[in-house]
């Protein structure tokens, strides 16, 4: 049974740049944008069949954040909820899993989202320190305890920065930014091109904010101290390629091309979409915004994980017998400017198309006027578990706003993967 799966509505929080520990945990973020989203539906919060949430840095106080968010959103004790994790693709994986459940007839109404609070990423005791504490607590006698205590060494107090470890691929021992350097190298992306892309991205985001393109998508957050968060605060509207040129490389000094200015930011944010079957649409008299046509996950060498979108998008187009001209809008998550440009370059590269994508002729060059038209993670930030969800949500809203038909949302995934969805507006 392959039933159509609709995207009915969605909402996200403002994306907040991490400046010290933020005021909201992943579940707090999910609740802040979940509440107004559920409030404006014509059905009660317990009408869903399940809740699926992407989240990478799960906090130990919030194990299985999907279920906790469901309970805190008042969806009822009977609401099944589970959390999915495929690194940067988690927010899209939740949609894809929901898509499968509805397609096969098992569910009719699913809340699928992503949430991440990178500002809460912990400092971790290193392995020696953990062993030390274990020895001290398990000691039975005073003498044994004193002995265990005496084994303390200064090196134990050097914390492991969780975020740093999380952003390093353990198989190829490269940081994410370093994989972008490799992509830039093999596709000849220059520092200048990356900076120009990043400046344009910031300009587009600032423009979208000014034109209120995020109304109805972004729901303001309210903290306990009375502070209101109602816009994506990573934006830097005055960015130019020249101002970015002054920055030093972030990951590989002194000659690297990837800088803090042309990379995505460390950010907190959450996003939800509501998926529905034909039955649900009819039962609740819903007006879907879009339908999910297809999805694809691909995998490749972790050292060039940034090219993931090229693989899965190409596969999607092939399977659906489409070319670039058939896609009105693209959302490719801007993990790094160089990485996005690398994907664009890969899709027009003859050798790559032939040998990796198994195409006789390259797809061609994606029109910049159709790609990330309202900015992306460079200005917005990349809350890892949420981004995949946000780009689907925004793609739907942008298609509707411009009266366009078809779009692809895709993100590269740390570890060497990529995920993409083919969306059609209604």
């Amino acid at each position: 049974m392959n039933r159509p799966v609709y995207i009915v509505d969605g909402a996200r929080t403002p994306f907040l740049k991490a400046r010290g520990v933020g005021p909201f945990t992943p579940v707090d973020l999910a609740v802040q944008c979940g509440r107004p989203l559920l409030l404006r539906q014509p059905f009660a919060p317990d009408a869903f069949d399940q809740v699926i949430l992407g989240c990478v840095n799960v906090m130990s106080d919030e194990m299985n954040p999907a279920r906790i968010a469901a309970l805190r959103l008042g969806m009822g004790e009977a609401m099944v909820g589970f959390t999915v994790q495929i690194n940067c693709g988690s927010g899209m994986q939740s949609i894809d899993t929901g898509y499968q459940y509805i397609r096969e007839g098992k569910s009719d109404l699913i809340l699928a989202g992503g949430a991440e609070a990178l500002s809460h990423a912990p400092l971790i005791y290193n392995r020696q320190a953990v062993q030390f504490y274990g020895n001290v607590f398990m000691a039975r006698t005073l003498m044994a305890r004193l002995k265990a205590f005496a084994s303390v060494r200064p090196a134990m107090f050097k914390p492991v920065i969780g975020l740093e470890r999380g952003l390093t691929d353990p198989v190829v021992e490269l940081g994410m930014g370093q994989t972008a350097e490799i992509v830039a190298h093999v596709f000849g992306i220059s520092r200048r091109e990356a900076d120009e892309y990043a400046a344009e991205s910031q300009r587009r985001l600032a423009n979208a904010q000014k034109e209120k393109y995020f109304d109805g998508e972004l729901e303001p957050m309210f903290a306990r101290n009375g502070k209101v968060y109602d816009f994506d605060d990573g934006v830097r509207p005055d960015t130019t390629a020249d101002s970015l040129a002054k920055l030093k490389p972030a990951f590989e000094r002194p000659w690297g091309k990837v800088t803090p200015g042309n990379s995505s930011q460390i950010t907190d944010g959450a996003s939800w979409v509501i998926l529905a079957s034909d039955e649900a649409v009819e039962k609740y008299k819903l007006t879907p915004k879009a339908v999910i046509r297809d999805s694809q996950w691909s995998a490749l060498d972790p050292a060039v994980m940034g090219l993931g979108p090229a693989l899965c998008s190409s596969e999607l187009l092939k399977r659906n017998d489409m070319g670039l001209a058939d896609i009105d809008l693209w959302e490719i998550n801007e993990a790094f400017a160089a990485q996005v440009l690398g994907c664009v370059a890969a899709l027009k590269d003859e050798k790559f198309s032939r040998e990796v994508l198994h195409r006789d002729t390259p797809l061609g060059e994606i029109d910049r006027g159709r790609l990330n038209i309202d900015g992306g993670a460079i200005g917005l930030g990349h809350p890892v578990g949420a981004s995949g969800n946000r780009i689907v949500l925004h793609l739907v809203n942008a298609l509707k706003r411009l009266g366009k038909k078809r779009g692809i949302a895709s993100q590269c995934v740390g570890g060497g993967q990529g995920g993409a969805m083919l969306i059609e507006a209604m």
Binding site: L39, R72, G74, G76, A78, P220, A223, R224, G226, V228
Partner: protein, 723 residues
């Protein structure tokens, strides 16, 4: 698509939670039957030979002690004395808790000697429980107050569940514990803490009671059976104070500490108005070293206090509260409330509703007031609870709603936007279009008649007034305003909603100022006139505070806000047929200058850190108190004549629970009757002759003075108290 059936697993299992020993069904046996013919108690022994005595009064949701309950307990004790069990467990089968106290109704109207006799008999029964030769255990959940706590104190051990609330509220009725509590409590735990607890009448949570040594263990229901067994076997670890108790009960300690206690008590409850705390302190100071004597004297002291006017009036206040609670006892299934306007009132109403379990959406045009409202809510919740989960859950239930999307699913909508007719009507038009059928639309207006507000409504029958007082979390009273097109179901739903959020409804007619604000205007205005005539503001406030008002009129005006005072006085002056004293020009100037009172740091007083900076008060002139208080009584009489409220009980209740009007005087009308209606009327005439026509008594006095005698109203009839 699966059809959603609500599961509520715990609801199905909850009935099995309450541990009732032999009265529970087990896989192999049905629940035991009670051994005796008693109406209020059940008795059976379990497999270990422990007798379980379970109290469960028929036809009521809470257990109280009355003569019949005590007599049946005596009967049960006789049985147990004859055939001593291994141990005795006393607990309640009711969800609401153990025992909520003695039934006050039985004391109403009795003379001191009759009371002393019934009390002595009750003491004898409780003493028998205390002296029972087997170990006795009280298992306490929910409310364990007053006489209920005294029964528990007579047991050897007390085991509580997490939700237990223990306390002695007798002082709030102008009494002190009368069933041995003063003796047993001060000799079980640190007497200073015991006395402090009895003098304030505050309830203790289970954990705090355990730290004090009042209860021996705090456990969940699932461990009650095992804990009882251990207690009976003498294996329960207790935390009794021991040496401190005897040391602090020595006569030297008592002499010193009693003086300190009196000083503290004087600050909150001056002796001339509240005799009970001082009677309790005297009792302990004189007899704390001799439990037998203290017990005898406790009975005598209780009997004396019962006949004091303060106690009679405070008991009346208790019944007034019960009467209003009964009015709010109806059924309302609503779960979602939408509040429009996140200002001081709207935000706080929303916060209170969310705290009490309702899902609330709070709407405003701008995000900043919503942010401020969330902050105030978070601050309030932190004061109300230490548990971060409770705070988090309440904040989760309070959803800021910039686009007003909560209207469509709300069961009740409360409008709390500024007092501008056109604005409110615009809000109603937009709201009514989106409301769900059966939802109620309520206004928090304080000064615009509902007849005007409802113009343009398609369904005025669902429109009512719910007028809250500031601060919502502290002032329980809410005026429920009807109009001639309001459906009775809408008003009933409004009252039941108030019951759900633990507020008290006072039904009033839609007339300017309703009741409370209208009564307060002459209080405030007369004070300003007195200020004008040269009397120091601290002196004016003192006159009112000496009478028993919680706050003097000058300080109250600053607290409410001088702009609001001017506005209310103007509105009422314009709308009421009878001239109201108008705000003086210098007050309006102050308002224009922005000196609005507490909220701007300066008004009639200077304000620092939320407190008024007051100088030394002088001696108030002889008629100062009458000038402030009697005009309030006069407006009450006018409101009764105009049928703004139904009866004097409602007037008194509203004034006490919305303004804190001297509770030990039982309310303005009760005060007038106790003083003598003719005297009040004559005084008003004298004051009018001296100070101006505004003080002339209302024509409504004529009917009142026709009554045969000035007997104070009896407590409300028992029939009034059933919901």
């Amino acid at each position: 698509m699966q059809d959603k059936q609500p599961q509520h697993v715990m609801a199905t299992l909850a009935a099995r939670d309450l541990e009732l020993g032999p009265f529970d069904a087990t896989p192999s046996s049905a629940p035991a039957a009670s051994v005796g013919p008693w109406k209020n108690w059940k008795l059976a022994r379990d497999a270990d030979g422990i007798a379980w005595v379970v109290i469960d009064l028929p036809g009521t949701s809470a257990n109280t002690l009355n003569a019949e309950v005590i007599a049946e307990l005596a009967d049960i004790l006789s049985l147990l004395e004859r055939e001593l069990p291994k141990g005795l467990v006393i607990r309640s089968a009711k969800k609401s808790g153990f025992i909520a106290g003695a039934d006050i109704k039985q004391f109403v109207g009795e003379g001191a000697t009759d009371v002393a006799n019934s009390l002595s008999q009750a003491h004898a029964v409780v003493d028998r429980l205390d002296n029972l030769k087997c170990p006795t255990v009280a298992v306490i959940h929910g409310y364990c107050l007053g006489g209920g706590l005294e029964v528990a104190l007579a047991c050897d051990y007390r085991i509580a569940t997490e939700d237990a609330r223990l306390g002695f509220p007798e002082v709030l009725l102008g009494l002190h514990p009368g069933l041995g509590g003063t003796v047993r409590f001060t000799h079980l735990v640190n007497p200073v803490q015991a006395m402090s607890n009895m003098l304030t009448g505050r309830n203790l949570r289970a954990r705090n009671a355990k730290s004090l040594g009042l209860v021996d263990a705090v456990i969940p229901e699932r461990h009650v059976a095992a804990a009882v067994k251990d207690a009976v076997a003498g294996k329960l670890r207790t935390n009794r104070a021991g040496f401190t108790v005897s040391a602090l009960n020595s006569s030297i300690a008592r002499g010193f500490l009693a003086g300190r206690m009196r000083k503290e008590a004087e600050k909150k409850a001056p002796h001339r108005n509240y005799p009970a705390p001082y009677a309790l302190i005297d009792l302990w100071e004189k007899h704390g070293g001799d439990p037998r004597a203290m017990q005898r004297e406790e009975i005598a002291s209780f009997g004396r206090l019962l006949t004091t006017p303060a106690s009679r009036n405070l008991v009346r206040v208790f019944f007034l509260r019960e009467k209003l609670k009964a009015m709010a006892g109806g059924k309302w299934d609503g779960r979602r409330v939408h509040v429009i306007g996140a200002g001081a009132m709207g935000g706080d109403i929303a916060a209170w509703c969310a705290w009490n379990g309702l899902n609330v959406t709070l709407a405003d045009m701008k995000p900043e007031p919503l942010g401020a409202a969330i902050k105030r809510a978070a601050d309030l919740y932190r004061k109300l609870s230490r548990k971060s989960i409770e705070i988090r859950d309440a904040l989760d239930r309070l959803t800021p709603d910039l686009k007003g999307e909560g209207v469509a699913s709300a069961d009740l909508i409360i409008e709390a936007v500024p007092e501008i007719l056109a604005l409110k009507q615009k809000v109603y038009a937009a709201t009514e279009a989106k409301m769900k059928p059966g939802a109620i639309l309520a206004t928090n207006t304080s000064s615009i008649p509902l007849e005007q507000l409802r113009e343009g409504l398609q369904r005025p029958e669902h429109f009512i007034g719910l007028h809250f007082f500031n601060p919502v979390s502290r002032l329980q009273l809410v005026e429920v305003v009807g109009h001639d097109k309001a459906a009775p179901e809408a008003l009933a739903a409004g009252k039941a909603f108030l019951g759900k959020i633990d507020r008290l409804p006072a039904p009033v007619k839609s007339e300017p100022g309703f009741l409370v604000n209208r009564v307060l205007v002459p209080y405030l205005m007369e004070a300003l006139i007195m200020m004008d005539s040269g009397i120091k503001k601290e002196t004016i406030d003192k006159a009112a505070e000496d009478f028993g008002m919680p706050m003097g009129p000058i300080e109250l005006a600053d607290e409410v806000g001088l702009d609001i005072c001017v506005h209310v006085a103007e509105v009422l002056g314009a709308q009421l047929p009878r001239p109201m004293p108008q705000p003086p020009a210098w007050l309006r100037e102050k308002v224009e200058k922005g000196e609005l009172g507490k909220k701007t740091g300066k008004g009639l007083y200077d304000w620092k850190d939320g407190h008024a900076v007051k100088g030394e008060p002088g001696t108030p002139p002889a008629d100062a108190t009458d000038r402030l208080i009697l005009p309030m009584v006069d407006v009450c009489v006018a409101c009764l004549r105009e049928k703004i409220v139904e009866d004097e009980d409602t007037v008194d209740a509203a004034m006490i629970f919305a303004t804190g009007f001297a509770p030990f005087r039982g309310g303005p009308m009760n005060y007038a009757r106790q003083r003598g209606l003719a005297d009040v009327h004559a005084t008003l005439e004298r004051l009018a002759a001296k100070y101006g026509d505004r003080l002339t008594p209302d024509v409504g006095w004529a009917d009142l003075l026709k009554e045969k005698d000035d007997a104070p109203p009896a407590a409300p009839a028992v029939a009034d108290l059933t919901p």
